[in-house]
């Protein structure tokens, strides 16, 4: 097996690493959903915890041509056919839904259908599938505002610069619980309608590791390990009303 550093498994993710995916901005502590998944996959591949090292990889560096600074990258990257032409994805390790967060005092606090959000100014983070989800599913009158990172999206909501933000459901729970006072989730929706959207591990195109990583993800799935990790770190992320 060819590894970036022989004898070590190098896993990439962006910094800052946000909850609930990571905890305390420290991917190496094994806490948070993606950190736990990464270590579980490493374990399946036969790596001890001490043989795992983390490297900071910006979202767009993960798919830039040239040498990769990771064996695989875990960063809430949604698998799409277009993206799969540039990188290799592992099998999906999490099925994600988009969620709409609004201010409790705002005029969209009472929305309970997608149609009611048409006139809302919506904020999303660049690079996420949320933008396409908003444009294709909600189809608002105004194009969404697109921000550099999650903190900016949250700040825009706090400042009332946007009426609503669209993020993935676990992030939405974190936003309402810890980041923005008096905010609430009005509901979740499927971004595509058809095939479910899944997060995958990113590997270099043609990576020799892909088949092993796929096997590891499958094994974790069939053993119920993935479901356990999901329950532990994203357990609260269930039961938001479905928006249609």
């Amino acid at each position: 097996m060819s590894l970036l550093t022989p004898g070590k498994l190098t896993i990439g993710t962006d910094k800052p690493a946000f909850e609930p995916w990571f905890k305390d901005d420290d991917p190496s502590n094994g806490q948070g959903f993606e950190s736990a998944v990464a270590f579980a996959v490493a374990g399946e591949l036969g790596f001890d915890r001490s043989e795992v090292q983390w490297s900071t990889v910006k979202f767009d560096a993960a798919f830039a041509p040239g040498d990769k600074q990771f064996d695989f990258d875990i960063n809430q990257v949604s698998i799409t056919p277009q993206r799969a032409e540039a990188v290799d994805f592992s099998k999906g390790y999490y099925t994600v839904k988009q969620a709409v967060v609004v201010s409790e005092k705002g005029k969209f606090a009472g929305a309970n259908s997608l149609a009611e959000l048409k006139d809302a100014k919506i904020g999303v983070q660049v690079g996420t599938t949320s933008f396409n989800a908003v444009r294709d599913v909600i189809q608002p009158a105004d194009d969404p505002d697109v921000f550099n990172d999650q903190i900016d999206v949250v700040t825009a909501l706090k400042n009332d610069q946007v009426d609503a933000v669209v993020v993935d459901l676990p992030t939405a729970f974190y936003v309402t619980a810890a980041q923005v006072e008096n905010s609430k989730i009005v509901g979740q929706f499927s971004s595509t309608g058809g095939t479910p959207e899944e997060f995958g591990l990113v590997m270099e195109k043609g990576s020799a590791l892909k088949s092993c990583v796929d096997k590891a993800v499958d094994a974790l799935k069939s053993k119920g390990e993935l479901a356990k990790i999901e329950q532990q770190w994203l357990g609260s992320a269930a039961g938001a009303p479905e928006l249609r």
Partner: protein, 279 residues
């Protein structure tokens, strides 16, 4: 009177000159061709070239992204056209304020100095961030909520400081005898500035001013950080959707197409100034 004919020596001289010109032209052409071939060969024979060609020079992606990038670019154009006007006004006012020597107006002078120090010192992207997220956070009545407007305010503050310094340099380059002459004609300080100093100063600083504006045109892309869908952001979204970098190239090309005429105009004006001064 016999008709004037070139002397044999002159004919010979011209022949030699022509052949030398031909020779240097062909040498220049040959060396340019060799240079381009070497660079092209160097790039295309590098091991990563196939992957680079795929991710940076994908014709399909280029065509797919271009309409969105162009649409975003209209916003860039709006932003810089409005800011350019505001910047000229602010820059000139601040430069004039720094020139006031009356003791009672010291606070104004100090404020103008502080302004240029602060906004020249802070990176433009930070000014955009602080204005773009900071002003709306105040939640005051009358604060604009439109992101492009906030971007224009930030760019104006940042570039106003640079342009103020350019104007100040221009004003200080006007010889003191001009001021003395104007004053001795009975012109007040204000009129001296308005009719004698500022017109001369402005003419002198047109090339550096245009240079700042070329820079401003590019920096309109920084406004993307606070939300609006301008050219760079449109390109970025295409790139993040497809994991292909070609849309960035499309954006770069559009920016170049706009800044090149501006740069040539700057060169032209600088050359004209040189000619007029008889240099």
């Amino acid at each position: 009177m016999s008709e004037w004919v070139k002397s044999e020596r002159q004919v010979e001289r011209e022949r030699v000159r022509r052949s030398r010109a031909r020779r240097s032209a062909s040498i220049a052409t040959a060396s340019t061709v060799v240079f381009i071939v070497l660079v092209a060969w160097g790039i295309t024979s590098s091991p990563g070239w196939p992957r680079v060609r795929e991710t940076f020079f994908d014709g399909e992606q280029f065509v797919a992204a271009l309409p969105d990038v162009l649409e975003g670019f209209l916003l860039n154009i709006r932003i810089f056209l409005i800011s350019e006007v505001l910047i000229l006004v602010i820059g000139l006012l601040v430069a004039l304020a720094r020139g006031i020597r009356t003791p009672a107006f010291f606070p104004i002078r100090a404020l103008a100095t502080l302004y240029t120090d602060v906004f020249r010192g802070v990176p433009t992207i930070l000014v955009i961030y602080l204005i773009g997220f900071g002003l709306p956070a105040l939640k005051l009545q009358g604060i604009p909520t439109d992101k492009a407007t906030l971007g224009i305010i930030a760019l104006t503050l940042s570039y106003g400081a640079y342009v103020a310094e350019v104007f100040r340099a221009g004003i200080e380059s006007v010889h003191p005898s001009q001021v003395a002459a104007a004053r001795s004609l009975g012109l007040s300080h204000v009129k001296t500035m308005r009719f004698v100093v500022v017109p001369q100063a402005t003419r002198r600083v047109v090339p550096p001013l245009l240079n700042d504006f070329v820079s401003l045109q590019k920096d309109t892309a920084l406004v993307a950080t606070i939300g609006p869908l301008e050219a760079l952001r449109q390109a970025q979204m295409h790139t993040f959707n497809t994991f292909d970098y070609t849309p960035y190239l499309a954006a770069a090309l559009i920016f170049i197409l706009l800044t090149i005429p501006m740069a040539r105009l700057t060169d032209h004006l600088a050359a004209r100034t040189r000619r007029r001064r008889g240099a």
